[in-house]
């Protein structure tokens, strides 16, 4: 075997090794959580409020708190994120320094630690100018700000992937820029945008630190009744259970992690379905 050939095989082997290592670790993690938590996984878990008694404790309020957060967060990031992406791709003149500044900033914001957004949320949403208080809306907007860069970057990629011949054809037939964007570009970009939104929500659903800062309480024995309602969320409930002294709460925490994972997988499945449904080849 020639040296070139040997290097080829060796490289392939290293890649496979890396892949199987990460798959193996993920598998071990899943196995560990499922074997710990499966015994407490039941419908009752979703129908009970937290309690000091591990036998009676459930995560109803945390589950609905997370659903409220994600719904409100999506309603905020989809219009704002897509509009920003449309502006940057279709209108912004890259010769102007402020447009380049905005672009660099959006990319940098995607890497800012989540706790910093928590401080921002506490200072401007919970207290300060907006003074919303420690409610669902403040939590959802904080998470929205946190993941907005992800949506913007994904939506820009999707819009850029629409061939310029489509735009030019539309404009040549007399359509305005607005008509071109609304009727040609955005529909073609839906799969990419939807994937970006789901990825963003998948990040938001697991965040704990910013929610603690904006004042999500740990023990909440009621479901959110609106945007101005106090709330808790699944990661907070799991964190709280893990730090309880009784070993039964560890099992509950594992069951909570399974619920969170299932919610996440459902969201990802929806994204894949959307992408396949609307994907088009040019």
């Amino acid at each position: 075997m020639s040296a070139r050939r040997a290097r080829e095989v060796g490289f392939h082997g290293v890649l496979l090794g890396c892949l199987s290592l990460s798959v193996l670790l993920l598998g071990l993690l899943l196995y560990d959580v499922v074997s710990d938590g499966a015994s407490r996984l039941s419908v009752d878990l979703l129908n009970r409020f937290p309690s000091f008694d591990p036998q009676r404790a459930g995560l109803e309020s945390a589950f609905w708190g997370t659903v409220w957060l994600m719904g409100t967060c999506a309603a905020f990031i989809v219009p704002v994120g897509v509009a920003t992406a449309v502006y940057l791709e279709e209108y912004a003149d890259r010769e102007r320094w402020w447009n380049r500044l905005i672009e660099v900033n959006v990319q940098n914001l995607a890497a800012v630690p989540s706790i910093v957004y928590g401080i921002l949320g506490l200072a401007f949403l919970v207290r300060g100018p907006l003074s919303l208080g420690r409610v669902v809306l403040a939590g959802a907007l904080t998470l929205g700000l946190l993941v907005l860069p992800v949506v913007i970057i994904a939506a820009r990629e999707a819009i850029r992937a629409v061939p310029s011949s489509i735009r030019e054809g539309s404009l040549a037939l007399g359509a305005t820029q607005w008509q071109t964007i609304w009727r040609q570009v955005l529909p073609a970009a839906v799969p990419g945008i939807a994937t970006g939104v789901i990825l963003a929500l998948s990040r938001a659903i697991g965040e704990t630190a910013p929610l603690i800062l904006v004042g999500a309480a740990t023990f909440v024995a009621f479901n959110p009744s609106g945007l101005d309602s106090g709330f808790t969320a699944l990661p907070l409930q799991i964190f709280n259970w893990i730090s309880q002294p009784q070993p039964e709460f560890k099992v509950l925490a594992a069951a909570g992690i399974i619920v969170l994972l299932m919610l996440l997988l459902t969201m990802n499945a929806a994204a894949i379905w959307l992408r396949n449904r609307y994907e088009r080849k040019w």
Partner: protein, 317 residues
């Protein structure tokens, strides 16, 4: 193209509606009134040491008053007081009395408050069952834990003790237990030797001490009670002879100096709300049951009476 346009719009709209609808579906049960009289929101925050007590109280209160909406957070004693004096919370949990600078912040916001003792807490000093120690004096504990200490075995403290090399475990610096232990043992809050294994999670400490032949550590008494079979409890001699921590010795404060009272603070502004008044009345009336549920040491009748009087002094007639 119009087909794609319509389906896209429909898709986005229905997606948002679906999320909204499922979200609303969950909120219906929240407002069901009836049962007990109290309704409205009660915001409780503060010490994570008091959290199990506050949670058990909120749960019991919620069962009697389905219309009341109690939230309990655990942002620490200091973080709790900051929110409390800013008027953001109604009740603040504390594992120590309020400090001078916190009193000043409350005064600035013109917040008057009452201090209610709700339970008792003790710190347990424990070792691995293989490391036989019956009792340590506070002076020995200080020699072991103080800044700059290089004590490696218990024999260095007392020739009669085993010479197993120690592995030390203790709570992290954010914990109220850490503040309390360093203040009482080392004489200054935050003063400690640095070469020990810290963790905010007391379970990690239990596992560390139980899994290491030379393990020695300190943490909240309830964590010891949960793991009695894995740990050796060390008595503490604060000058008046050796005392082991137990419900009784923590309650009457004879387990010196590592037992302490736990508090709830309530402001006069919050106490005007009938639901907050009802909640604290509930806490006072059911203090023993709540403490038992939370696996924390209950009050003596005299302590309970003092809290009852403090509450009635602040409450409007």
């Amino acid at each position: 193209m119009t087909k794609i346009e319509k389906t896209t719009t429909a898709l986005i709209v229905s997606g948002i509606l679906a999320l909204g609808a499922t979200a609303c579906g969950g909120g219906d049960e929240g407002d069901a009134g009836g049962g007990g009289g109290a309704s409205g929101t009660i915001a409780v925050d503060g010490s994570s040491t008091v959290f199990p007590f506050a949670q058990a109280a909120a749960e019991g209160f919620g069962q009697e008053n389905p219309g009341a909406r109690v939230t309990v957070g655990e942002s620490g004693t200091g973080g709790g007081f900051e929110k409390f004096c800013a008027g953001e919370t109604d009740v603040s949990n504390a594992s120590r009395p309020i400090k001078e600078e916190e009193i000043a912040a409350c005064r600035k916001a013109a917040t008057r408050y009452a201090e209610l003792q709700v339970a008792n807490d003790g710190i347990a000093v424990v070792t691995n069952p293989g490391l036989k120690v019956d009792c340590l004096t506070t002076a020995q504990l200080k020699e072991l834990w103080n800044t700059g200490s290089d004590v490696k075995t218990l024999r260095e403290l007392d020739p009669k003790l085993p010479d197993t090399e120690l592995s030390l475990f203790g709570p992290g610096t954010d914990s109220g237990t850490f503040d309390f232990f360093t203040e009482e043992i080392n004489g200054e809050e935050g003063a400690t030797r640095k070469d020990y294994q810290p963790s905010e999670d007391d379970n990690v400490l239990v596992q560390g001490v139980a899994g290491d032949g030379g393990g020695l550590g300190y943490f909240g008494f309830s964590y010891y009670e949960q793991n009695q079979d894995k740990l050796n409890l060390v008595g503490v001699d604060g000058g008046g002879g050796c005392v082991k921590p137990s419900k009784a010795t923590i309650q009457d404060n004879s387990y010196k100096p590592l037992s302490r009272p736990l508090f709830m603070y309530v402001s006069d502004k919050a106490l005007v709300k009938p639901q907050v008044k009802a909640f604290l009345d509930f806490v006072i009336a059911n203090q023993a049951t709540v403490a038992e549920n939370a696996q924390i040491v209950a009050l003596t009748p005299a302590q309970l009476e003092r809290s009852r009087q403090a509450l009635s002094r602040l409450a409007p007639a």
